[in-house]
């Protein structure tokens, strides 16, 4: 590992990452912060991070870009940790580690490394176990599914079309949510250890992670008995919703849910540009938010605004609305995200030399910036097993001959 000029928050912290898709992004977050994160995967058998999208092109094995994204900055070891001949190196890895991450079931225990056996090697570990419903509820790994977790966590019920039913949010969000709190749990454990000498075994429930995302729906039910129903593409009030425009859609919050001045600014904007349409909104009823929340007003406004927007592009509407402090954004497809002027000006997109695909991949930059411990952005995700020599031989004490023996036996 090359030395860095400036400190990073997790310098000197070693993480053993036994996660699958449910929590792998958690290890990624720790790697971004400077930890030495070592993925340990079985020598053969299924790919645990096999989520789409896949990059598939002539001469290239189908490669999961989810795996490339969540493994940025991690080292990779392949090792059957349950094999007797692996005992010495597993012992050394555990001894040298500060944090162990596991998902969606206890991995070490499954291969014979019980809590007692691990404690005997290293009693100072922060251990984070991430499971679908919590460690006391066993779930078969082939039963874990993002759709089912989003349902179990309550978020799925809030989304979708009133006539067609719930629709899951894009992009394995239950994994991102569980993974973010995996990193939170690991950091809480590290802080507790350094401040209080307290050791932590943390039991993360993916269902509970999703349940952080329920807005006010649970208190609403508890206080009023009302169960929130999905809006779908029906706006919540006049001025707040998703509206069609020349080249797609825009999203706006400009009714009572928005800033106080937004509705007035919105009317002025429409009136300035298209007086006829402005006239349709001139009636004093439109000034009352109670009226704007009626179904009639919602539909009337949609009709007027979509006529306003029909000859304007997402970017034009974005610029013009924001000049007037109206919270409007384009509904960007991912190609448009890459072209966003603000993200480009912040040098947000990072080119990463990917060793698996043998080409440059464009990653989003890190979610945050830190002044005292500057972070270097996503680093290449090592190829599977690429660090067997460095970790198992140079660091954990196997001889090259021994490594070769394990390789021939299929243990690495």
């Amino acid at each position: 590992m090359e030395p860095d000029a400036e400190p990073r928050p997790l310098d000197g912290v070693r993480v053993l990452d036994f996660t699958d898709a449910l929590a792998a992004y958690g290890g990624r977050l720790l790697a971004d912060l400077g930890a030495d994160v070592i993925r340990v995967e079985p020598a053969s058998g299924g790919d645990q991070l096999n989520h789409g999208p896949y990059w598939m092109t002539s001469g290239t094995k189908p490669t999961s870009l989810f795996e490339r994204f969540v493994n940025a900055g991690k080292r990779s070891v392949t090792l059957d940790i349950g094999a007797p001949e692996a005992t010495a190196v597993v012992t050394e890895l555990l001894r040298s580690a500060d944090v162990v991450l596991e998902s969606s079931r206890p991995v070490l225990e499954r291969y014979g490394w019980t809590t007692e056996r691990v404690d005997a090697v290293n009693a100072e570990l922060t251990r984070v176990l991430v499971t679908p419903y919590g460690q006391q509820f066993d779930v078969e790994s082939d039963a874990v599914d993002d759709l089912i977790l989003l349902g179990a966590g309550g978020l799925l019920h809030l989304g979708g079309y009133p006539d067609a039913g719930p629709v899951a949010v894009y992009g394995h969000q239950s994994s991102y949510m569980a993974s973010i709190f995996t990193a939170v749990a690991a950091l809480a454990g590290l802080i507790g250890r350094v401040r209080n000498g307290e050791l932590a075994q943390v039991d993360v429930s993916a269902q509970e992670c999703v349940a952080q995302a329920l807005e006010e729906s649970v208190v609403r039910y508890a206080m009023t008995g009302e169960v929130r129903a999905p809006q779908g593409d029906v706006a919540k009030e006049a001025g707040t919703g998703v509206y069609r425009c020349a080249d797609g859609y825009v999203s706006m919050v400009a009714g009572r849910l928005g800033t106080a001045a937004a509705w007035t600014a919105l009317i002025s904007w429409i009136t300035d540009e298209e007086p006829d349409l402005g006239d349709a909104l001139a009636d004093e009823r439109w000034g009352q938010f109670e009226y704007r929340q009626t179904a009639d007003a919602i539909e009337a406004f949609r009709d007027i605004f979509e006529r306003f927007a029909t000859r304007r592009t997402r970017q034009e509407l974005y610029r013009e609305a924001q000049k007037r402090a109206i919270a409007l954004s384009p509904v960007n497809d991912l190609a448009a995200v890459l072209e966003d002027l603000q993200l480009q000006s912040r040098d947000f997109f990072v080119d990463v030399d990917d060793p698996e695909l043998g080409r440059v991949l464009t990653y989003p930059g890190l979610p945050y910036r830190m002044s005292g411990t500057p972070l270097h952005g996503p680093r290449p995700a090592h190829r599977r097993g690429a660090d067997n020599v460095d970790v198992l031989v140079k660091e954990a004490g196997l001889s090259l001959e021994e490594l070769e023996s394990l390789a021939e036996r299929g243990v690495v």
């Binding site: 979708g160 629709v167 894009y170 991102y176 950091l187 507790g192 509904v331 991912l334 464009t362 945050y368």
Partner: protein, 404 residues
Amino acid sequence: MSAELPLRGMRVLDFAWIGAGALVTKALAELGAEIIRIESRARPDNLRKSPPFRPGATGLDASGYFASRNPSKKSVALNMKQPKAREIALELARQSDVFTSNFRTGVLERWGLTYEDVRSANPKIVYLAMPMQGHDGPHRDFVGFGSTIAALAGLVHTTAVPGRPPIGTGTHYPDHVPNPGHALVAVLAAIYHQQRTGEGQFVELSQLESTVNVVGHGLIYSALGGTVEPTGNRTPSSVPRGVFQCADGEWLALACHTDEQWEALVRELGDPSWSNDPRFKTVLHRGRYADDLEVLLRDRVARRDRPDLLAALSDAGVPAGGVNSARDMLEDEHLIAREFWQTVPHPVIGDVPMFHLPFRIGSSARHEMTSPPLLGEHTREIATTLLELSDQEYEELVDDGVFY
């Protein structure tokens, strides 16, 4: 194992408000820190005015939404427009370990509470800002909400049934997990560094940049020239996979990842003829005829009540689960067994179900959350303890409108 919480003894000076910011400090409170919210009476936290309200309750202390995001915090009503307020805030910063804010760029500058200002008072402090799109750049002053950030970041376009308008999550999702979650990771990392070295620092999370990370895998694909289009609830590797309504009106989700699970589904729920139906013989075939299959499943699921069907599918080894409504969430057996919900009494609203952080540390009970603060409930307490003012000095500042 005794539960000495990791942040016990630490103090947070909290200018965070509304959604994303409040969830960061709620989490820090649950990890043991003391949270002192600075609140304005003139421009109160929007959430204090947001429903749901207990029927009949009004005012700035009646919002269940505000309550659910702010247990275990203290509230000091300080008028930042008053000249003396700045010195009070800086004195509190001197005695704090963390400073948090999610104001848009410009507000803290106006009040003279930038990182440079606060660091002069306390070099060790960890200072968190969560501007919408960053402190610099052509769109630094743009306004937004969780839903519009989701749209900018690509989450809305990609969440739809093909051929229908894009809808996103139906919530301000970035405000609830991606942004407070990533911010919490960064703040905790900065606290770890602070505890090891004595050094503080400035942490900035652009809400847009943080949200883009949860579609990062798709973004890489898009940059390679791929097109990411919405697929509803479907995925080509698992067919069938979707959401279906039961006889009792409740929704369930199911997915078949393997042929064994598909065969079990056919036996439990389907018609024997499906086993020989050429349209369904492999996952690739089922993918081509997914529309037909869903019509058939809709009909089958609609004949049975959800509890029966979920029990049967579980016994058969078919991945399935309820699409839990808010009511279902409060009654969920896993969450109850893990004491995820805590009923917290509130002087104005009554009992409010609060949610814990999504993990348990060791074998101890979860940290007990305390009632969210009334606006300004702790002004006198903080003034006469941390600020070491006499009662008279405190009253004078109230008369002057500094505290209110």
